[in-house]
């Protein structure tokens, strides 16, 4: 029951904020909604017993990536409205319709298939309730997924170098 309340509240928030991100005309507001969206997602992670990911979500997404967006929004000092020019050939409506259609299809598949098969219920929460799985995750990351982990770190290094090179002013 509590989970249901949490889920539906968060779901509504997440979707609503998502829509707000996409629809808000002002970029800064959009960024703000995105942060809130991510925070809600983080809370959803906590609901899903993924505390570590929740914290990481906040730390990396909210504290890092979105700050970056905010910076860029502020650095991009536009003299005219960002979406002033519209190419007549763009197929925005078709895209909208198609995404809607895909969503409906996917939802249909999910509902239909879950309606037929016995829906898998969440396993019982661990007794301790509050003990998380951070250590377990750490073990997995540093043993079975060591190489992907290292690759990801190299990717981040490359991205860092690339970003610096790209953003640096030609002197």
């Amino acid at each position: 029951m509590a989970e249901a309340i949490a889920f539906y509240t968060l779901a509504v928030l997440i979707l609503g904020l998502g829509v707000a991100v996409v629809t808000t005309p002002k970029t800064v507001h959009s960024v703000l909604f995105l942060v809130l969206n991510f925070l809600c997602v983080a809370i959803l992670y906590v609901v899903l017993r993924a505390e570590f990911l929740a914290v990481i979500q906040v730390l990396v997404y909210a504290g890092g990536i979105v700050v970056l967006y905010l910076f860029v929004v502020m650095l991009v000092n536009l003299k005219r409205a960002p979406e002033a020019h519209e190419d007549p050939r763009r197929l925005a409506r078709l895209g909208l319709g198609l995404s809607g259609a895909v969503l409906l299809e996917l939802a249909g598949i999910v509902v239909y298939s879950y309606g037929r098969a016995a829906p898998s219920s969440a396993p019982a929460a661990p007794v301790e309730g509050i003990v998380g799985n951070t250590e377990e995750l750490g073990w997995l990351l540093y043993t079975d997924y060591l190489i992907p982990f290292e690759v990801a770190s190299v990717l981040l290094l490359v991205a860092m170098v690339g970003a610096i090179v790209l953003a640096r002013r030609e002197s």
């Binding site: 050939r89 763009r90 197929l91 895209g95 198609l98 995404s99 895909v102 249909g108 598949i109």
Partner: protein
């Protein structure tokens, strides 16, 4: 004897020096000195080598310088053999005699040339000595070569030098034509020679003379048959015929007189033309194993001797008379070899070298004195002007006529004697020839040196007259002619030396009938027989007549010779008009002889014209048939190309253009898709997702 390789090499070095540096840097004196020094050195070495050879127990010495052709596997009659040829020189009695002849007479002629060619400008002078030295180099290589291939190098080399020297005055068309003629005619012979070499290798698996001789000695004598040895001999003899100017390839030699006189003396009298005889002698063992070929050789020799002598009877050009005389004498030598008297042939070769060189040089002296006049009809009474030349030439004439005790008598008489033993018919021809020889030589002497002076008067007028037949170099310098005169010392000295040789050379071959030991024959004997055969047949007694009969034959030939001289004296000294009457009486025969039996014309009409007309015929075939075929093919190609073109233009190009058109037209439609709007592309991607999901649903839930 170890240094015999230096004998050919010294003139070679001389030629190289004169050829590479001399033409540009040497003065006349230097060039002459180099050439003469080279020849002198070669002569000295030859003498030393010959003396050592005489003292040696085994009179054969082989010096192998280097590998020339490394062993190559080639098929022979007896399986796979190794074709190899070393640079090797062999000194044995025959080659020893030859090198003495070549270097000795060569040296004298070099000395003679120093004076004779004095009128030449420096470039030509040096060139002449270069050629002369080169010739000696090749001639000595030919003589000393221990195998057929080395000999062939010399053989071709002397051919080349002969060509160069005949055409020495190359601005004169007749001279260059004569050079080419000599070269081409020699090629015919060389063709046979090299085929013979191939066959020798194929048959015996080696080219070394000694090895070939040993191998051939082991084979049966081809009596009455014409086997492989006979074929080899035929081919080799063809080569010899070309080089030694025998029927039918003698035509080049008279024309070769276009060259300078020393050249005629050295190459076309003393040395090169005898190479054929030498080569046959070298392969004596082969020839003795082919009796049928021996007969052919003898017959051809006898016929050549007779024919050349008859032509010589009526020639008026002093050098041509000598040329035909040379051909005739070469015929004698082949006659000798043909009857198995190799030593006699070689003996005659040597004596002939002396007296014919003497005669040529003498004639050169006369020509020199007459300011390049060669026609005997314009000479006369020359003995008054040039006694030394007259005396020496007289000795030469007596020698060639076979008057004892001059050298020609001994050698010629030996040949006649051996021929008589073998074949009386041929002996008859040879005796007739001997008479003719005496006649035309005496005629030459009488026309030149006796009677009244018939030449042009000297002074300015004479110069123009004499200049007509003069060589190109003559007109180049303003040398005023002051009438006939004795030649300088440098020219007369060799004449005297040769005259001495012509007198005494015969004494090394005094026949037994005259109390001599015929030493030359015994000396040369090892060269003409295989060692095995030599040991085996050492005690073989040859058929011979009694001394009395032999003396009778000698007397007969001397008598005939004297008769010929007497007739000439009557016709050209006492009653000169009678000769003209005779010529008029026998106008037809005289014309035939004057025109050398029309052989040149015959060759021209057959060989040359035939070649030309067959070439023309082939050309016609080529134009009509081959070209027609080619053109037909071309036409066919063009026709098919036209068809292909049409197909290509309308079918293939149509397809290609259609594809292109489709692409072009299609691109007008499709290029609208490239809007540069990333989102449109993303929409396309999304459409893919949509299509995929739809398909999935259709298959999964409705399929």
């Amino acid at each position: 004897m170890e240094l015999i390789w230096l004998i050919p090499l010294l003139p070679g070095i001389g030629a190289a020096l004169n050829g590479v540096f001399g033409v540009r840097y040497f003065s006349k004196q230097t060039a002459a000195a180099v050439a003469c020094a080279a020849m002198g050195g070669a002569l000295l070495l030859s003498i030393v080598a010959f003396v050592e050879l005489l003292g040696a127990e085994h009179r054969e010495h082989l010096v192998e310088l280097a590998q020339w052709i490394p062993p190559i596997a080639l098929e022979t009659a007896s399986g796979i053999g190794a074709f190899e040829a070393p640079w090797a020189f062999r000194l044995d009695p025959l080659s020893g005699m030859m090198i003495l002849v070549v270097t000795g007479i060569g040296s004298l002629i070099h000395v003679y040339s120093v004076a004779y060619m004095d009128h030449e400008p420096r470039g030509g002078y040096v060139r002449f000595f270069c050629y002369l030295n080169l010739f000696c180099f090749f001639m000595l290589t030919l003589v000393l070569g221990s195998n057929l291939l080395v000999m062939f190098v010399g053989w071709e080399g002397v051919g080349l030098c002969s060509y160069l020297l005949i055409g020495f005055w190359y601005h004169k068309k007749s001279a260059s034509d004569a050079g080419k003629k000599a070269f081409v005619v020699n090629r015919i012979g060389d063709f046979g020679f090299i085929l013979g070499i191939f066959l020798v290798f194929f048959t015996f698996g080696t080219l070394d003379f000694r090895a070939v001789a040993e191998a051939a000695a082991g084979m049966p004598v081809e009596e009455g048959t014409f086997g492989v040895i006979s074929l080899i001999c035929l081919l080799l003899f063809i080569g010899a015929v070309g080089k030694s100017a025998q029927i039918p390839l003698y035509v080049w030699l008279p024309d070769a007189m276009e060259g300078p006189t020393p050249v005629s003396a050295l190459i076309h009298a003393a040395t090169m033309v005898t190479a054929g005889v030498y080569m046959v002698g070298r392969n004596a063992v082969l020839f003795t194993h082919a009796p049928e070929m021996m007969l052919i050789v003898a017959v051809i020799g006898a016929l050549t001797a007779l024919m050349a002598a008859t032509i010589g009877l009526v020639q008026t050009d002093i050098k041509r008379v000598l040329a035909y005389s040379t051909v005739s004498q070469l015929g004698y030598m082949f006659l000798a070899t043909g009857v198995g008297a190799f030593a006699a042939g070689a003996f005659h070769l040597m004596t002939h070298a002396f007296f014919k060189a003497l005669l040529f040089l003498g004639s050169g002296s006369v020509i020199h004195a007459m300011n390049e006049e060669q026609d005997m009809r314009k000479m006369g009474n020359m003995k008054a002007y040039m006694p030394v030349t007259f005396a020496t030439m007289g000795i030469g004439t007596l020698a060639i006529a076979g008057i004892p005790p001059f050298s020609g008598f001994f050698s010629k008489d030996e040949i006649l004697y051996r021929t008589f033993l073998d074949n009386t018919w041929l002996w008859g021809l040879a005796v007739v020839t001997a008479g003719m020889t005496a006649f035309y030589m005496a005629r030459l002497m009488f026309m030149t040196f006796y009677g009244e002076y018939r030449g042009p008067s000297w002074g300015a007028a004479g110069h123009a007259d004499g200049g007509q037949e003069a060589h190109g170099g003559q007109g180049a310098h303003a040398h005023a002619w002051h009438g006939p005169h004795e030649s300088p010392r440098l020219m007369t000295a060799p004449l005297q030396a040769l005259a001495a040789g012509a007198v005494i050379a015969g004494f090394i071959g005094v026949p037994a009938a005259l109390g001599g030991g015929n030493r030359i024959e015994h000396f040369l004997e090892p060269s003409f027989v295989a060692e095995a055969a030599h040991a085996e047949e050492g005690g073989h007694e040859e058929a011979h007549l009694s001394h009395a009969a032999e003396l009778g034959l000698m007397g007969l030939s001397v008598l005939i010779a004297l008769g010929g001289i007497a007739l000439a004296h009557r016709l050209y000294v006492r009653r000169p008009d009678e000769s003209e009457r005779l010529a008029a009486d026998f106008a037809g025969a005289h014309r035939v002889l004057t025109n050398k039996y029309y052989v040149d014309e015959l060759y021209d009409a057959t060989a040359v014209k035939g070649t030309m007309s067959s070439a023309r015929g082939l050309w016609t075939v080529d134009r009509n048939v081959v070209d027609g075929a080619v053109n037909g093919t071309g036409w066919l190609t063009r026709a098919s190309a036209w068809v292909s073109d049409v197909v290509d233009k309308y079918v293939v190009d149509g397809l290609v253009n259609l594809v292109g058109r489709i692409c072009t037209e299609g691109s007008y439609a499709f290029r609208r898709a490239q809007t540069g709007l990333i989102q449109n592309y993303a929409v396309a991607t999304l459409f893919g997702v949509f299509a995929f999901v739809t398909f999935y649903i259709a298959v999964r839930y409705f399929g």
